[in-house]
């Protein structure tokens, strides 16, 4: 019950209040500066900045929650609370523990993402049936972070390591992953880097679904990349969780 209360509060801030603030602060505020220029409107494919930014918040929120839920909570499970050790002491296999963890991540990410979806339903520019597949793909995007970062967390001794995840993965992706401006603006070398990151694929999917600008094969391609990340993440989780639990 207390756990529910805790999740509810964090979820409210991460999945609800933060996107609203970003929509107001960046979408409307910066949007008014952006939309005032005709050249910018061309760069965004003729749409308003708010409509451009809003769907991407589904993917960025999924990334933030997905990555966070697999850092401190995972290390805590190994180190401070020993949850995983006590699970391993029963007849559960590593695979089952990882599966349970995946279910947990999916729940946390979904809760946060659905909060954003509710906000987007309210905004006229983004109210569309495309929100349903967009929400689902955002969850996949979040999970591709949880699984890979979770595997990394299982190899860590001290929580200081998570600073690196924040600084070299989450923050740069947040800024350069195509959420706030089209990645076409990035210089040559950075573009291919954006292409391999799960966030960009997530952003393309959510934006494409909500604004109905995405083609069938593009959807398949982006989904394939996200599933590839999740599969890789799960494989690594299985491996590193086993190494940590039975060392």
């Amino acid at each position: 019950m207390t756990l529910l209360k805790r999740i509810w509060k964090t979820n409210l801030t991460l999945g609800f209040v933060q996107p609203i603030l970003f929509l107001l602060g960046m979408g409307l505020g910066v949007g008014s500066l952006v939309d005032a220029r005709t050249a910018s409107s061309d760069a965004l494919g003729g749409m308003g900045y708010l409509a451009f930014l809003a769907p991407a918040l589904l993917a960025t929120t999924a990334m933030l929650v997905g990555a966070f839920e697999s850092t401190y909570p995972v290390l805590a499970g190994f180190k401070w609370e020993g949850t995983f050790d006590s699970m391993a002491a029963t007849s559960l296999t590593t695979r089952q523990i990882v599966a349970g963890q995946l279910l947990w991540w999916a729940t946390r990410v979904s809760l946060a993402v659905v909060g954003v979806t509710v906000v987007l339903v309210v905004v006229p520019d983004t109210r569309s049936w495309g929100l349903v597949p967009a929400t689902l793909s955002a969850v996949l995007c979040g999970l591709s972070f949880s699984t890979t970062v979770g595997a990394y967390a299982a190899t860590r001794e001290y929580d200081q390591s998570f600073n690196y995840v924040q600084r070299f993965v989450v923050t740069p992706l947040f800024l350069f992953g195509g959420a706030f401006y089209p990645i076409e603006a990035l210089p040559g070398i950075l573009k291919p880097i954006a292409w391999v990151t799960p966030l960009w694929h997530g952003v393309e999917l959510t934006r494409g679904f909500v604004l109905e600008t995405i083609g069938f094969f593009a959807v398949l391609g982006h989904l394939a990349v996200l599933f590839a990340y999740i599969t890789l993440g799960l494989y690594l989780c299985d491996r590193y969780f086993t190494r940590r639990l039975y060392r």
């Binding site: 805790r6 509060k9 964090t10 801030t13 209040v17 933060q18 603030l21 970003f22 107001l24 602060g25 960046m26 505020g29 910066v30 008014s32 500066l33 952006v34 005032a36 220029r37 050249a39 910018s40 760069a43 965004l44 900045y49 200081q160 600073n163 690196y164 600084r167 070299f168 923050t171 740069p172 800024l175 350069f176 706030f180 401006y181 603006a185 990035l186 210089p187």
Partner: protein, 268 residues
């Protein structure tokens, strides 16, 4: 009345009673000796932010009319990012970091068993936040100059401006931390810091807020942003005195509450 006591009388009482605060800062140096990589890795953050503003938003948003002249969007936002980064660093160092030491590690219990006082602890921890903050500000300044986002020599004044802003947030942050009872309370920190970041005339001029302008002016970050922006763009107005006074007052109030609360928490 001797010269010395006269000087001391204008110093806030808390600083008068803290003569060993630098030992707390020294401790932090020892701690970071072990994890200097993390400190260095923080240098990348301003670079990422400035870069994304310059190439990303710069291509979407054109020049902006500010203080009677036209500046590029990157020039307009960069000082605000420098101020925000000073705020974030100060808030982190004075909330999460202090809370852990206060409630979990019981670090300060050990410190107070020595000749150190609770005022030394409060002033020293805030001092460390500022030391680190200044280091980051200098790196930020270097990035600003390297990316050609400033054209006035007054830009060096952005570092002391960030120092003052950091002092205000670190003091208030530490005072708030002494009232926190669990990690969940830190959600509130996030809930306060993000709107400050987004709505302190960071991304667009105060005039865009229209009738809500007065709300923005309550935000301490707004005053910090205004100071750093003035330094970067070489603007001198009387408003600067107001910004400085506001931030200085916050610092003294925060610091006084923080030291008193550390006293009641640890010396019962």
């Amino acid at each position: 009345m001797s010269q010395e006591t006269l000087v001391w009388r204008v110093v806030p009482p808390i600083l008068r009673h803290s003569r060993r605060a630098h030992r707390m800062i020294e401790r932090s140096f020892y701690v970071n000796k072990l994890s200097w990589m993390i400190v260095v890795s923080g240098f990348f953050e301003p670079l990422f932010y400035l870069f994304s503003i310059r190439i990303g938003f710069g291509s979407l948003v054109g020049d902006i009319e500010f203080a009677g002249r036209s500046v590029s969007y990157a020039q307009f936002v960069a000082p605000a990012l420098m101020a925000s980064s000073a705020m974030n660093g100060a808030v982190y160092d004075s909330t999460m970091n202090v809370y852990f030491k206060l409630r979990h590690a019981r670090l300060y219990d050990g410190v107070l068993a020595t000749p150190m006082s609770s005022k030394d602890v409060a002033v020293g921890e805030i001092g460390w936040a500022l030391t680190r903050g200044t280091l980051y500000s200098i790196v930020f300044l270097g990035c600003l100059i390297a990316l050609g986002l400033t054209d006035s020599w007054t830009v060096v004044l952005a570092v002391p401006a960030c120092l003052l802003l950091g002092a205000a947030f670190a003091s208030v942050g530490m005072a708030a931390t002494t009232y926190m009872r669990s990690w969940e309370d830190f959600d509130w920190v996030q809930t306060i810091v993000l709107p400050l970041f987004l709505f302190s005339a960071t991304f667009y001029p105060l005039s865009s807020y229209g009738v809500w302008g007065w709300v923005v002016q309550i935000s301490p970050l707004y005053h910090g942003v205004a100071l750093v922006r003035a330094a970067c763009l070489g603007i001198a107005t009387w408003g600067i005195a107001v910004h400085v006074a506001y931030l200085a007052a916050l610092t003294v109030v925060g610091l006084t509450i923080a030291a008193r609360r550390v006293d009641t928490l640890l010396c019962k």
